[in-house]
């Protein structure tokens, strides 16, 4: 039987939810950047695409950082 994950520590749920919301919004921006990049590629302006890739990469790095910051830590057992 699969045991459900224990609930997050108090105060962590809103932080994870906020991270998730911001992450989804930034993903939307990345998708938009990809469509602009495709348009530039078809228009034969590849130099501009590198800038878009850099912004997209920064968003991705931000997401990785957020994932690392919100890593699950073992709970402190209090007496």
């Amino acid at each position: 039987m699969v045991r459900p994950e224990p609930p997050p520590p108090p105060g962590q749920t809103p932080v994870v939810l906020a991270a998730l919301t911001i992450g989804v919004l930034l993903m939307g921006i990345q998708l938009w950047l990809l469509t602009v990049a495709l348009d530039l590629y078809l228009a034969g302006q590849p130099r501009e695409i590198w800038r878009l890739a850099a912004v997209s990469g920064l968003i991705f790095l931000g997401g990785l950082l957020m994932l690392r910051l919100l890593r699950r830590r073992p709970r402190i057992q209090r007496q």
Partner: protein, 157 residues
């Protein structure tokens, strides 16, 4: 028991996706989008470094002023059009419409390049879209004149 055999999943055994797992999935998707954008940048870089052949197209006298000559460049499957514009200037463009790749044709009576699929119109002087659904200009073919021979030497996307 009959209901259990028809739908044999218990709530406890069902896999729940936690917020963290969803966040992880979002970050992976973000990485995929970044990779796709970088791939496009790389493809664009490779395409910009491509060299095209130098190929004779026509003699100057073969295309009267205000007329067009259809040829293929840079590959045998790539249709292109050479225009002898009023005033004596020569220009050449890819015939592939930037909307949905139909062939565009020169209409001397209207002095325009016309795509019959969706009524797209391009300016023959610049290749810019003037009307209809196309948003990008036609790829221009670079010409060089040597004596009375016109050569195609490259393509500007």
């Amino acid at each position: 028991m009959g209901a259990v055999s028809e739908f044999p999943y218990h709530w406890d055994a069902d896999e729940l996706v936690s917020r963290r797992e969803l966040l992880q999935f979002a970050v992976y998707t973000s990485g995929t989008l970044f990779a796709a954008t970088t791939l496009l940048a790389l493809l664009g870089l490779i395409r910009s470094q491509e060299r095209h052949d130098v190929r004779p197209i026509a003699r100057v006298g073969e295309v009267p002023e205000g007329e067009a000559l259809y040829f293929r460049y840079p590959d045998p499957d790539d249709e292109a059009v050479l225009l002898h514009l009023p005033g004596g200037r020569f220009v050449a463009y890819s015939q592939k419409c930037t909307h949905l790749s139909c062939s565009v044709y020169y209409q001397p009576e209207h002095t325009r390049l016309f795509c019959p699929c969706h009524n797209g119109i391009f300016n023959p002087l610049t290749g810019d879209p003037v009307a209809g659904p196309p948003q990008r200009r036609l790829p221009q073919i670079i010409l060089r004149q040597e004596g009375d021979l016109l050569y195609a030497v490259g393509q500007v996307p």
